[in-house]
């Protein structure tokens, strides 16, 4: 039977569509069969007949068609032999006219939805009209779904609202419902007239992986942006205190460097390189951290006054987050993924999502582990004999003799030897960590409650502890019809530290080996007649810090219709930090007793922020495509207060933590800043057949950090992906290919990471003079600076072959940042050393990323997954007008990478003088800045290699991190001239000793001789740049899971035993303590630790 289709265009009202899209027109098709009787038109629809006339039935229907909303559907030849109809001038009811026209024949007519009247000859087989709605598992109607009567090829597609109707000849017929990307469903018609169908998505492995992209989620298969992810099972296997540590070496494009081995120390995090030229601001290149939807501070906790010497690079705020409650960490990297975060996405976005409760039976998990850690490496330094030889030789070389102030030669025992590294940093750090988690729920509500306590001691001599207690509460609820859903979580964390005030590592390496005893025979600190500062005196200076963090968020979601929902996210964070650093009299040489008094720094900082984000989300299946639309706004406010006070003159050391016991109290710093931030953002996503994907995001941002007129800016990105493995041609030819996707994205993000109020010319209070509170200028102001721009481009390809045995993702990225927002460093003569401003510089970070995961063995009892990730970053300063007249000439060169040090060209040791020589490049006769050239000091490539092997109950994981890089030589960390009264690494023994000798190390010198100056120049020469590459067995873990039978009797659901090793072994040619922390100077290296533990589920 031939089907006559009436096609109608549906114009959605313009004023609704403008904010959505201008050019999209929706089409839908219907086809109808019918049989029921008369009176199909509404009772009072009338037709106007302009003159008496004689018309064919076809012509009559044309008139009705023109004058009403009704359409007709019939076989073209149906009225061939039907007599004409006579009409009189006037009006006539449409129904009446219809009856008249069809009176002569044996016809049946029926009105279907859409006002279509179907006419057919009577007496044919009785057909039944089946109608219904096709929707997805969330109840969103699917337009364009196909409904076919099995075995006939006859069928229809659903309309805009997912509705269909179809005439079915027989109750025995089977309807097939299908939609691309969804599993087909077959239903027998039977005596039903309404068949509503819910199609289930056809899930491949890639689809099961849901990626959190911040304001929306996307499947791994269909993502257009670059997002890396690690999940709980990876994080849990690492006994680390900081989530950043768990990410190290596991993601492409994410470079994480540990600054120090001191518990709580900071990390340097660069996502796809350094975008900003800010030289001395550690925060400038930090990514944006979002914990459960709430922006989390990236700026260091702590205060210079109280924690400055032990945490030279600050305290990591993320140390407040318990890694074991994290369900996943996603890192957004390219423009497509980050542009929805607009002004703050330039450095990438790190999304941390905490675990949520499971449905089903309530479970109780206990996890306990305990580790022992030591410094991962010690340095070979001179022994007393070698040291004294160096000292004497140095003085002799200078033609001088030991002076009374050369205590190591004139006052101290010449035969003593102490291994200071063992004494001062050779201890064992113990860590105990216990975590308990309750989780449970049903179809509508689930909850999770988790508490943990961690306590870590240090390798320093003495009783130091770093304790952390955390609690997480999470509740999710959805109404039965899923229309309303609510979720809320609170993560609380409290940390107590009482570390010494300084990191003793530098002293441990540089103290002369014959330095005096630490204690006198009476057990008092030994000051050896005031000839040294006893290192343990620093341990008498207590530093205690208490930090508390609360991250709370609530989310409310309401489905207005099945395809349209409104959501409100509200978040609140509070970070507080209180520290006390005591300098008691007893920590000084008693000889100075008269002149020192007990003093204590009290500092406190509090950062509170809230965020309010209303969002609207609309989802639509159209034809073979799917549209996702998101529009939202973000309001954020962050307040920060800080107060540091110095109390002096405590009468007793026991009262030193009581500020009111001080005879004088001075406020040394006080700050109160406000940061406000507002944005309007949107996303349009079009997914055609799961094969062609388009993602458009945009954001308009305003930030209070800029002066009037500079506050607002627009950011946006376009991402597109083509899942070419869905193409028939490829499917039929390349059977081995399970999945293949090409992606590209381009967009602009920004950066406003610069101090608050930089535009404001103002004064701030200082301490008193003449009893009057004084005012000093707060900063150099510049009202003109504005947003930094970062243009990101990316090309990527994902492949999955041989039944997902090998998954590969390769990307190329190129980010160009311009309008550099920096604290422009100024010469001292300007009065201040920096001012906020925009630099005209343009720089590019590009690179290649490769991640591959291979399932080598996949059997029930034996599995082996290996994965590798590799990043090859490159950076280049593209343009910098007038760099030579700027303060940056000293650090950068146009056309060269950013990781540059300008250094002298070494010409080795002069055999006749024994002193380092350097090339006077410009032949000016003096060695100055003009003689320096840029040499690369950054990372050439980095990555990680992991193996997860499972055999029966055993799970073995090994993770290797590797970095190929250049950095500063150990001499730059020691920063003392060989021959001076500071110990040196043993390789200085290769020094020049006599005229004519060829040597790599210059002669020793005991004074500020030309040789000493040459050594300082050497520290600024190419010789001081060495290979600091390393390959580190970062994490090795062996877990045994007891079989269910064994543990059932004990009332357990599961039981696991594990042994883990961290930083077990490092391969490097670097001569210092640790290649990773070498850029931080002489700091405690990351600890090597062995952990054992047990995990039980009840």
């Amino acid at each position: 039977m031939k089907i006559n289709l009436t096609i109608r265009l549906f114009y959605i009202r313009k004023w609704l569509l403008i904010p959505i899209m201008r050019t999209f027109i929706f089409l839908f098709c219907t086809s109808i069969f019918s049989f029921t009787p008369n009176n199909v038109c509404s009772q009072n629809v009338r037709i106007i007949v302009s003159e008496d006339t004689l018309l064919s039935v076809n012509e009559v229907f044309d008139i009705i068609d023109r004058q009403t909303d009704y359409k007709f559907l019939y076989h073209a030849d149906l009225f061939k032999n039907v007599p004409k109809v006579r009409l009189k001038k006037g009006t006539i009811l449409a129904n009446r006219l219809l009856q008249l026209s069809l009176a002569s024949g044996n016809f049946s007519n029926v009105l279907t939805k859409n006002n279509t009247i179907v006419i057919k000859p009577k007496g044919q087989q009785v057909q039944r009209l089946i109608s219904g709605t096709v929707s997805d598992n969330l109840g969103v109607p699917m337009s364009g779904a196909t409904v076919i009567i099995k075995g006939t090829g006859t069928g229809t597609t659903t309309d805009f609202n997912g509705n269909y109707s179809l005439a079915v000849p027989d109750a025995q017929n089977v309807l097939i419902f299908s939609f691309l990307g969804f599993a087909n469903q077959e239903i027998i018609v039977g005596n039903k007239t309404t068949i509503n169908v819910t199609l289930k998505e056809e899930l491949s492995k890639l689809d099961e992986v849901t990626i959190n992209a911040g304001y929306y989620t996307v499947s791994e298969r269909e993502r257009t942006g670059n997002i890396s992810k690690i999940e709980a099972h990876t994080i849990e296997k690492q006994p680390v205190a900081n989530p950043l540590a768990a990410m190290q070496g596991r993601m492409t494009g994410v470079q994480i460097t540990q600054n120090t081995g001191v518990a709580g120390g900071n990390y340097k995090v660069l996502i796809r390189g350094q975008n900003s030229l800010r030289l001395f601001d550690a925060n400038a290149n930090h990514p944006l951290y979002i914990v459960d939807g709430v922006p989390f501070s990236s700026s260091s906790l702590g205060f210079a006054e109280t924690s400055g010497q032990i945490y030279t690079q600050g305290i990591s705020p993320l140390t407040m987050i318990n890694p074991n409650v994290i369900a996943s960490i996603e890192v957004l990297k390219d423009a497509d993924a980050t542009a929805i975060y607009g002004s703050r996405g330039a450095n990438g976005v790190v999304l941390i999502t905490t675990k949520k409760g499971n449905q089903g039976k309530t479970t109780f998990d206990v996890n306990f582990y305990s580790s022992l850690g030591k410094i991962s490496n010690t340095m070979a330094v001179l022994n007393t004999e070698q040291y004294l030889e160096m000292r004497h030789e140095g003085l002799t070389n200078d033609g001088s003799t030991p002076q009374p102030s050369d205590y190591d030669l004139t006052q101290w025992d010449q035969n003593r030897h102490t291994n200071w590294q063992e004494k001062l940093i050779g201890g064992t750090a113990e860590t105990n960590n216990i975590q308990m988690t309750f989780s449970g729920g049903d179809a509508t509500t689930n909850f999770l409650m988790s508490g943990s306590h961690r306590n870590e001691t240090s390798v320093f001599p003495g009783d130091y502890k770093d304790n952390r207690t955390t609690a997480l509460l999470k509740v999710n609820h959805a109404s039965e019809d899923k229309r309303i859903s609510l979720s809320g979580s609170a993560h609380y964390s409290s940390k107590n530290t009482n570390l010494p005030t300084i990191d003793l590592t530098s002293l441990a390496v540089t103290l002369p080996p014959n330095a005096p005893e630490l204690y006198t025979a009476e057990g008092e600190l030994n000051w050896e007649n005031s000839t040294w500062t006893n290192p343990l005196s620093f341990l008498n200076r207590g530093y205690t810090a208490k930090s508390n963090t609360l991250i709370g968020n609530a989310s409310f979601n309401y489905y207005v219709t099945k395809s349209f929902d409104a959501k409100v996210d509200v978040g609140y964070t509070i970070l507080s930090y209180k520290a006390i650093a005591k300098t008691p009299k007893s920590s000084f040489n008693p000889a100075l007793e008269q002149s020192v008094i007990n003093s204590t720094y009290f500092s406190s900082r509090e950062e509170t922020s809230w965020v309010f984000e209303p969002q609207l989300h609309w989802k639509k299946y159209l034809g073979k495509g799917k549209i996702n639309l998101l529009i939202g706004a973000s309001f954020q406010s962050q307040g920060s207060t800080g107060l540091a006070q110095l109390g002096r003159g405590f009468s007793n050391e026991h009262l030193m933590e009581d500020i009111k016991s001080a005879s004088n109290v001075y406020v040394t710093s006080n700050s109160d800043t406000q940061y406000r931030y507002q944005a309007l953002f949107g996303r349009f996503n079009y997914n055609y057949k799961g094969t062609y994907l388009l993602n458009v995001t945009g954001r308009r941002d305003g930030s209070s950090r800029f002066g009037a007129g500079k506050r607002w800016a627009n950011f946006g990105a376009v991402g597109a992906a083509w899942v070419f493995s869905n193409e028939k041609v490829i499917k039929s030819k390349w059977h081995f290919l399970d999945y293949g996707k090409l992606r590209a994205s381009y967009g602009i993000t920004g950066n406003d990471k610069i101090g608050d109020y930089g535009y404001l010319d103002s004064y701030t209070s200082s301490s008193t003079y003449l009893g009057v509170n004084t005012l000093i200028p707060a900063r150099l102001s510049n009202p003109l600076f504005a947003w930094e721009e970062n243009k990101k481009f990316e090309l990527g390809m994902s492949l999955s072959v041989c039944k997902n045995a090998l998954n590969v993702e390769a990307n190329y990225y190129s980010n160009t940042s311009s309008n550099q927002l920096v604290g422009i460093t100024l010469p001292g003569a300007a009065g201040f050393t920096s001012v906020n401003g925009n630099l005209p510089a343009t720089l590019r970070n590009s690179g290649y990323e490769l991640a591959a995961t291979s399932t080598l063995i996949n059997k029930a009892n034996f599995g082996w997954i290996a994965s590798l990730n590799l990043t090859i970053p490159q950076s280049k300063l593209l343009a910098f007008p007038n760099i030579e007249s700027s303060t940056y000439d000293y650090f950068y060169e146009i056309g060269k990478p950013l990781e540059l040090r300008k250094v002298y060209t070494s010409e080795g040791v002069d055999p006749s003088t024994g002193i380092y020589q350097f090339k006077d490049t410009d032949s000016s006769g003096t060695l100055d800045i003009k003689d320096r050239k840029g040499v690369l000091v950054g990372q050439d490539f980095y990555g990680g290699f992991s193996n997860n092997i499972q055999y029966k109950g055993f799970q073995f994981d090994i993770h290797v991190q590797f970095v190929k890089q250049h950095g500063n030589a150990i001499e730059n960390s020691i920063s003392s001239v060989p021959g001076f009264s500071s110990n040196q690494p043993t390789h200085v023994l290769n020094r020049w000793q006599s005229i004519g000798e060829d040597s790599s190390v210059q002669r020793f010198t005991g004074n500020f001789s030309p040789a000493a100056i040459a050594f300082y120049n050497w520290m600024s020469s190419e010789s001081s740049i060495v290979d600091t590459s390393f390959l580190r067995f970062k994490n090795i873990s062996l877990t045994y899971t007891f079989s269910e039978f064994l543990v059932q009797d004990l009332g357990l659901k599961s039981a696991k035993l594990f042994v883990r090793g961290t930083n077990i072994f490092t391969l490097t040619s670097y001569k210092g303590l640790d290649p990773e922390t070498s850029s931080s100077g002489m700091v405690l290296p990351p600890l090597k630790s062995i952990t054992t533990g047990i995990a039980l589920t009840f």
């Binding site: 009374p404 000889a591 003079y769 000093i776 009065g831």
Partner: protein, 462 residues
């Protein structure tokens, strides 16, 4: 139904847009800050800005008397002190001063430079604030504050030009211009110093009523005292004598007993820096009970005192490690922070006698010059000098200044350089390490690297 939803959506979108236009992101100026224009809208806050400058000067470094102060490092650089510091973070840098082998990256050099220019900036900011049309500061206070700011600008430039040679002369707060400023020839810097001081003298009063009768703010006499010194340094003998006479004859100041001469607000002091925190740092800097804490006298300085010199007993202390005797300055005695008895003294009357003596000697007024030197010697319990030739007298004045002003404000270092005898003396004390070029400190590396206009102009020898 559908149109209802549509309406709802549009309402929400509209609401977003409206909110976007709001002033949500405009924040008030922080509660801890005062906008510059407001500062100079009233007497009290303008006054507080000037006090802020004094307060910053005494806090640390430059004028504080601590290890990073002009007094200490010039003592090391000249023939006064030997470095004994064991403070690991600073001893090697101090050693560079002591061996006259500085490197441009020395952080003490950098901090002296940056601090001085920060004070210059603050002075300029105050001057600009007071000159601004919106300033509502009363006329009397405006003169007072302007005079003080001009003095401090001159004072900082004076030390900069003496320690570093030609230095950028900075007279505005515009960082965009100041970053490009070149090293200005010393003569021009001196001209500006003189102009600033003269203007300050013209508008300042003679008493200390503006500082609660404490000598911790600049008055006319302090300006004249510095101007007398500047004239001496620029070989303007007549004016130097005149300015010195203004002060000596004013009757406001008298030479004090040794016990009192560094006490707060003593009769000899012309300008001191007070501290609400505790005693000044000098006593603590040198204090020692065994081996020297940070520095001790060179044998040459110890030998420079005549046997009867009272200053040797009152202003010098000693300690011993059992075998050797170490001498250290004991002008300031208060090593405990409280109670506050001593202030850092920057200008005191004795200097004016010696300035005038030298100025007079240069003008061949030998008898009068001798009287001035003998006034200082008399207090020291030394016999009056008899008649001397002009050169002998000038030599005697230098000697007198050496033992009167040791470890104070780099007098010795500046005098040796000014009189071109630095090589003669330094070769005696440091035969191995002294080089003529070392008489100027290097321009700090950060200044050179951060300013294209000075990058090529390091002092010779560095």
């Amino acid at each position: 139904m559908k149109s209802k939803i549509v309406k709802k959506i549009s309402c929400v979108i509209l609401a977003f847009v409206c909110m976007s236009c709001s002033d949500f992101i405009v924040v008030d100026s922080p509660k801890t800050e005062l906008v510059k224009a407001t500062v100079f809208e009233n007497d009290d806050t303008a006054n507080a800005a000037v006090l802020g400058l004094y307060n910053q000067m005494r806090t640390s470094g430059f004028a504080s008397g601590d290890l990073m102060s002009v007094s200490f490092v010039c003592g090391l650089a000249s023939d006064e002190l030997l470095n004994y510091s064991i403070n690991p973070s600073i001893s090697q840098e101090l050693e560079q001063f002591n061996k006259n082998n500085l490197i441009a990256a020395n952080t003490i050099i950098e901090s002296l430079w940056n601090q001085s220019y920060n004070f210059v900036y603050q002075s300029n900011a105050i001057l600009e604030g007071l000159e601004n049309e919106s300033s509502k500061v009363s006329e009397e206070i405006q003169s007072q504050l302007t005079g003080e700011a001009k003095f401090i600008r001159a004072f900082c430039h004076f030390y900069l030009v003496n320690l570093f040679g030609d230095v950028p002369l900075v007279l505005t707060t515009h960082w965009d211009e100041n970053k490009k400023i070149q090293r200005t020839p010393s003569e021009i810097v001196y001209e500006q110093i003189i102009t600033d001081l003269q203007e300050s003298i013209a508008i300042l009063g003679d008493n200390y009523s503006h500082s609660n009768d404490e000598k911790v703010r600049i008055n006319k006499k302090a300006s004249q005292a510095l101007l007398a010194r500047v004239y001496l340094f620029t070989n303007n003998w007549i004016s130097a004598e005149q300015e010195a006479t203004h002060i000596i004859d004013s009757g406001i100041y008298n030479l004090e007993t040794f016990e009192n001469s560094f006490l707060k607000n003593n009769n000899e002091a012309i300008w001191q820096l007070s501290s609400d925190y505790g005693n000044s740092s000098e006593a603590y800097t040198y204090f020692s009970s065994g081996l020297p804490a940070n520095a001790a006298f060179t044998s040459e300085l110890w030998a420079a005192f005549e046997i009867e010199d009272q200053r040797k007993t009152h202003w010098v202390n000693s300690s011993t490690d059992g075998t050797s005797q170490y001498y250290f300055p004991y002008k300031y005695k208060a090593i405990t922070p409280q109670p506050i008895t001593e202030y850092t003294t920057i200008l005191r009357l004795a200097e004016l006698y010696l300035i005038r003596a030298e100025a007079r000697a240069k003008q061949e007024k030998l008898t009068e010059a001798l009287q001035d030197v003998n006034a200082i010697r008399a207090r020291a319990g030394l016999i009056a000098l008899g008649s001397l030739s002009k050169d002998q007298l000038i030599e005697a004045i230098l000697q007198e200044k050496r033992v009167e002003f040791f470890t104070e404000w780099g007098h010795r270092w500046l005098d040796l350089k000014r009189r071109n005898v630095v090589d003669d003396y330094m070769q005696v004390v440091k035969p191995n390490s002294w080089q003529t070029a070392a008489q100027l400190f290097p321009i700090p590396e950060s200044q050179l690297t951060n300013s294209a206009s000075t990058s090529n102009s390091q002092n010779p020898g560095y």
